[in-house]
Amino acid sequence: MLAYYLQQALRSLRRNPAYSMLMMLCLALGVGVWISVHSTVASQARDPMPGPRNLFHVELEHDSGLPERMGNAAGIWGLAHLPDLLLSYRQVSELSRSQIPSRSAGAFSTQVAVQLDDGRFVEGPATFCFADLFALFEIPVLSGSTWARSLDLDPNANVAVVDHDQARLWFGNTDPIGRKVRLGGVEVTISGVAASDPQRLRLYHLWFGGGYRNGLFLPLGLIERMRARPVFVFGWNDHDGANAALRTLDDGFVHFWVELPTEAQRSAMILLLDSYVERERVSGRASAPLRPTLRRLDDWRRNAHQLYAGYRLVEMLSLIGLIASCLSLVRLLMAKFQIRAPEVSVRRALGASRRAVFLQHIVEALLVGVGGALIGLLFASLEVAMYNAALPDRTVDFALDLGQVASGFGVTLLCALFAGLYPAWRICSIPPAVYLRWQ
């Protein structure tokens, strides 16, 4: 019987091709946007450094009360929960003394005002970090060198590495090594040029500020002298920000990465974190209970991605669009099925049961779903190409993969099924005598 229903559904769709196309387009628009948004978000979530690695993100999860302090701004910028996972400058300073990791790196990225050596003021991204960050995130140093590890937490360090593309913007084709720039009254000398690969840091770090380049890399200790920190660290109304206070505050804004190649190192690091948290609790230094986690790089990526409110917002909007498409399809199917009521009455007279009529119309709705899915996937691929063209500074290339195509197809069929249920039920519930013309 299914073949007969399919044959009748095709006949029905061919009867009015323009109307059939309208129904498919209605579904395809919603599905296309939904698939393209999910694809771009999934592309964003994909690990740009795949393969086995021993890099872990150290988290001391706590309740910072940040949403209360920042109000709506926290949610808008996706900061509502991520800083709760990060470490304070003090905690990174203390934990980085451990010899357990093979290598480790603290990192805090933000936007700074830079005065170049020709007197120009420019805005640029900056990452305050440990020298080992380059090795851990596989960012090659093209020329010159980074700084000695001993300078990682030195507030008086006066050295920086510049991103290759940023250097060309600031200094043209001249060699940037040895040139001096000033940031917040601190003069630093450029000692090396790093390859431009913003993906590595952008995807794994919370970035307090805009820009699409890595800009400058500076020793983490410089933030003490420069008073560099996110606005929420000292509260909205405290612009004083005494240097000494930074060493004692608990606000999390620094990532801390550790390289732990062996199981023994991982176990030892977990024990260290447990004892560290206990010491914090006993000493009463931490303002809130800390929950330590050692998270693999890819886990952290997924976790951070899930927490980012912006993605959730866009995904929700695309879902609302999909639901609106479904509801529009319900109306279109209702109108189409209603027009066919006399034919359905004849079929009922000839022996079609209510169930047979219902199934025949559901098959038709599913066929609309198949058409809608194919057009929707075409839309989605065009939209993804459009996003790629419109965002030249994106951190990843957006693309559809087979899994997304398959799930998009499945979701479209589910939508069509959902949209067809009520109209099919209505048409099969009409008593045949109502529309049957005896005369």
Partner: protein, 232 residues
């Protein structure tokens, strides 16, 4: 074939209730050809709907081929319609974008017959009504008489025991009407029970028996000659 006792049907619209059939009782035996007559609004169509299991009734008993249809579910009623009843409508009610063959195929599909058996029955039914050569024509490509013959073939194709026909010649000229009536008589002679609603006395005269419906009841025209005569 049909045994109705005290059938009641009331249509309600808001606070208004209209009694379409009031205590209607009739009996049509197997193999009979019965003509039903009555004025417009007398309840003939309601009777056909109930007899054809296309509508429910509010009271009384109805045995179709000795099967009590009261309380049957939709699936059973649909199966009974499909296996025991053929319908012939005044306005043909062919599905316009199915050709003749596919129109005849509809009831057989719902019966679940396999392809070869369906084809055999369709060809046989078309042969009976003399339309074998038109099997791939659309209804719009046929004359009124041919369309009605297709409708009769569709009613016959399931080899039903009962054919319910409502003014089967109402939209046809006299020559076509005569041919259709001869066809129905031939079908009846082969053993199929026919219940036909008609206004035309000369057509009703071809039936074995005439029944008159008035105000939702079967009446005896001899008992109420004036009113029945006026009405008819």
């Amino acid at each position: 074939m049909i045994r109705m006792t005290g059938i009641k049907k009331v249509y309600t619209s808001g606070v208004l209730a209209m009694e379409a059939l009031a205590d209607l009782s009739l009996h049509v035996g197997k193999g009979e050809f019965v003509a039903i007559m009555g004025p417009s609004g007398s309840g003939k169509t309601t009777f056909l709907n109930i007899a054809g299991l296309l509508d429910s009734f509010d009271g009384g008993d109805y045995l179709l081929d000795d099967i009590d249809v009261r309380g049957l579910g939709d699936d059973e009623q649909s199966r009974l319609r499909n296996q025991k009843i053929g319908f012939v409508f005044q306005s043909f009610n062919l599905i316009p974008d199915l050709d003749v063959f596919d129109n005849l195929d509809v009831p057989l599909r719902y019966r679940g017959l396999h392809g070869a058996e369906r084809r055999r029955r369709i060809e046989h039914a078309l042969e009976q009504v003399g339309l074998t050569a038109r099997s791939r024509h659309l209804p719009s490509q046929l004359s009124g008489g041919q369309q009605q013959r297709v409708a009769i073939a569709r009613a016959l194709v399931g080899e039903p025991k009962l054919i319910l026909a409502d003014e089967p010649t109402g939209n046809l000229d006299s020559v076509m009407a005569r041919q259709i009536m001869e066809l129905l008589q031939k079908i009846n002679q082969q053993g199929t029970t026919i219940v036909m609603v008609t206004h035309a006395a000369e057509l009703a005269a071809r039936a074995h028996r005439k029944l008159h419906i008035l105000d939702g009841k079967v009446i005896d025209p001899q008992a109420r000659p004036r009113r029945a005569a006026e009405a008819i």
